[in-house]
């Protein structure tokens, strides 16, 4: 429960046609990610006339969300505060929902070469992962062609909360099954059992009993 697996999101279908060079793949990364978090592709509106969000003025264009023109727009009030406007969910004409969001600074996820940005909506802290659509597709194609023996290469399990390792249940070289307990970490008065996300064998163990771990620390690699 405490570790984030490598991102193996439910990926949108890889298109065969040309990819809009301005399109952006937006998903959830970092420690806030939950299993099943979706990714979307955002493209600038085909009409270039008015496309850039300016301070205090809503962008009047219709960007494409997963290929569909959607009446969403963003107003920015400086670096941190912004307001998203989208059509009301009930589809009634002319009704919109405005939601205030807070932007954090952009960081680079060095392992994946993507950009991460914390966005706070309604008190929910989401690490949004941003990447050009073209690059995201290349990455997916490379992984798919990567071979048949292992499911997508080694899985790196990293800590998503800090704590202390109280038990290591496997050794390098051990075969593990999906769901098998591999580590126990104590954090905030609770014992958290870490389980293998899929079957494989333990390639590397990055911690020992007694170690204090921080968010992002590499715990176990399974291939």
């Amino acid at each position: 429960m405490i570790a984030g697996p490598t991102r193996e999101a439910g990926d949108p279908a890889v298109p065969d046609g040309p990819i809009d060079p301005g399109a952006v793949r937006v998903g959830v990364g970092g420690p806030s990610r939950l299993e099943g978090d979706p990714a979307i592709t955002l493209s600038p509106a085909p009409d270039p006339a008015t496309r850039l969000p300016q301070d205090g003025a809503a962008s009047p264009a219709l960007p494409l969300v997963d290929g569909v023109a959607t009446a969403v727009s963003l107003e920015r009030f400086g670096d941190v505060r912004a307001r998203l406007t989208e059509p009301a969910a009930d589809g009634s004409a002319g009704r919109v929902v405005r939601t205030d969001v807070l932007f954090g600074p952009i960081r680079i996820d060095r392992a994946r070469g993507t950009r991460l940005r914390e966005v706070v909506v309604d008190g929910w802290r989401i690490d949004v992962e941003l990447e050009s659509e073209r690059r995201a597709i290349l990455r997916e194609r490379a992984r798919r062609g990567a071979g048949t023996a292992s499911l997508g290469g080694p899985v790196e399990i990293r800590a998503i909360i800090p704590g202390r390792v109280v038990a290591v249940s496997v050794a390098v070289g051990d075969s593990v099954e999906a769901g098998q307990q591999v580590l126990v970490v104590e954090a905030m008065k609770m014992q958290n059992e870490l389980r293998a996300p899929r079957e494989g064998s333990v390639e590397r163990i990055g911690v020992a009993v007694g170690d204090t771990i921080e968010v992002g620390d590499l715990l176990i690699v399974i291939h």
Binding site: V26, P48, T50, E86, V120, D122, I126, L130, M188
Partner: protein
């Protein structure tokens, strides 16, 4: 007015330590803080006049070390010790150690703590003075004793199923087991007793009828050395999850003046019988038929004391210091007790914790990057956390109490909504989205849904988060489109961190060529800042 002491020590950390230090300073007393290595630069340490290190971060090595805390008080010249809540606040041995060292313990006497901390003794005292306790047994149940099984089963039948096996030595749901039928009872007794022994060092358990649905209503008491005990008012703390309170309010909605008088009188009667001094809280369950059932007494200051302070117009921590100094109940306190059955305002507190409401409230420690708290009329924020603080994993995840005060409950709800809208927290996940969602729930807004089982029935963390994920993705994506467009299509790499909107000078054209005005701008820039 002479301060009751010249120097006191706060045996706690975080928001309550800061709260106590503030009260001490306002009374003209100096305050000494104690800290673990994790809290060396914490707000409560900086607010104090002196500070003493206790040890490493783990509570057992620091805040729970009776010897170290008493030594800190003696070496720093403190005359009194305030225990706050949690940690050592309800350990009779600590109160005794403080007294033995010639210092004053700011709280009830060690005997009262011991007598009321044992829930069975408290229930027997309640029965003796005619305060109805939650129906159940009054003696520890025999555990793993097949020879006494018949007696236990008979007692259980008298209580009625479903019933709860509960720990006599502590609360918070630990040692508790729900029993639906007689054949489950022996195993439940063993399991509950084992958990209670691990949590409290005492495996005594007893049987209690399950009252469901019920509201959790508690009464704030103050007592002085003359034996006088008064009730300042009651609080409703029904919005809980796994026996942890999330939202509290004062007064309890929907009670009549007669019901309040009856409730307060029962609590006072119990307090007098137990010889209660200083501050304590008597907890009751209030069932659908309008009956109050005594649950237990907490012989300490409670987390949610601010809602009573605001409605009663009193500083309870200041009153605690005065009472500990030997003064009788103050005029202000007596007047507040007179008014308690007819409250003329309403206060609501929400507990903001570093927990993830989409991961079954699992702890979510981390470092705070943004911390903007609400303000304006009727808003009070009790916190010791600041931007840049790292939330330590060793302690309770409660980091902030947001309290609002208004003329009545509807006004308080509107004020709370405003305050929550103004609250901005970045860098860690907190329970803030939970509180925002609860305010929208009709059952909470009209108080019809108040019950201790309500949260589990009404809160869907993942669903609430899913909507936020979509908005976050759209917002970040649109911002990214704006930034990459400003940098040029596929050309200049996007700038990090800065909002480019101010510098954006126009859209690139569809075929990728750069319009003349943009090229001119870049050329101009190159001239000014040649690389």
């Amino acid at each position: 007015m002479t301060p009751p002491f010249s120097r006191i020590l706060v045996a706690n950390r975080g928001e309550i330590a800061l709260r106590i230090i503030r009260a001490a300073h306002e009374l003209g007393m100096q305050a000494v803080a104690v800290y673990s290595d994790a809290d060396a630069t914490a707000a409560h340490v900086r607010a104090a006049d002196a500070a003493v290190r206790l040890g490493p971060a783990a509570p057992a090595d620091s805040y729970l070390r009776i010897d170290a805390v008493v030594a800190a008080a003696l070496e720093s010249g403190a005359e009194a010790v305030h225990p706050g809540y949690g940690f050592l606040s309800e350990r009779a041995a600590f109160a005794q150690a403080v007294a033995d060292a010639g210092l004053v313990f700011v709280g009830p006497s060690p005997t009262a703590i011991a007598a009321l901390g044992d829930k069975l003794a408290a229930r027997r005292t309640a029965r003796a003075v005619g305060v109805p306790h939650v129906p159940g047994t009054l003696e520890p149940a025999p555990v793993d004793r097949p020879d006494q099984l018949e007696g236990v089963l008979a007692a259980a039948e008298a209580v009625g199923f479903p019933l709860l096996v509960k720990a006599a030595a502590g609360g918070g749901g630990r040692g508790m087991r729900r029993v639906v039928a007689a054949d489950e009872l022996p195993a439940a007794l063993i399991a509950g007793s084992r958990e209670a022994a691990a949590a409290f060092g005492d495996g005594s358990v007893y049987l209690e009828r399950e009252i469901m649905p019920a509201r959790h209503i508690e009464v704030q008491l103050l007592g002085d050395a003359t034996g006088q005990v008064i009730a300042l008012g009651e609080r409703d703390c029904s919005t809980q999850r796994r026996h942890q309170k999330l939202i509290e309010e004062a007064p309890a909605p929907g009670l009549s003046e007669i019901e309040r008088r009856r409730l307060h009188a029962m609590a006072v009667r119990l307090g007098v019988a137990a010889g209660l001094q200083n501050a304590a809280t008597v907890e009751f369950l209030y069932d659908r038929d309008g009956n109050f059932w005594f649950l237990e007494v907490n012989t300490r200051l409670q987390v949610e004391h601010p809602v009573t302070e605001l409605v009663a117009g009193l500083d309870i921590v200041a009153e605690q210091f005065r009472l500990a100094g030997g003064a009788p109940l103050s005029q202000g306190a007596l007047a507040a007790a007179e008014r308690a059955a007819r409250p003329t305002s309403h206060a609501i507190e929400v507990r903001i914790s570093a927990e993830d409401p989409a991961r079954v409230f699992a702890p979510a420690p981390g470092r705070i990057t943004r911390w903007a708290m609400p303000a304006g009329p009727g808003v009070r924020v009790d916190t010791a956390v600041e931007v840049g603080d790292r939330i330590p994993a060793e302690y309770d995840p409660l980091i902030c109490k947001l309290i609002v005060h208004a003329a009545d409950r509807p006004a308080a709800l509107r004020r709370l909504r405003r305050a929550l809208d103004e609250t901005e927290i970045g860098g860690i996940q907190t329970t803030l989205p939970f509180h925002r969602a609860m305010l929208g729930e009709p059952g909470f807004r009209d108080a019809s849904g108040l019950s201790t089982t309500w949260v589990d029935a009404h809160w869907d963390g993942p669903a609430s988060r899913a909507r936020a994920v979509r908005v976050a993705a759209l917002a970040a994506g649109l911002a990214e489109l704006g930034e990459t467009a400003a940098g040029g299509p596929g050309g200049t790499p996007p700038r990090t961190g800065q909002d480019d909107a101010r510098h954006a000078s126009g859209p690139p054209s569809r075929d990728g060529s750069v319009p003349a005005w943009r090229a001119a701008g870049r050329a101009l820039a190159a001239d000014r800042w040649p690389r």
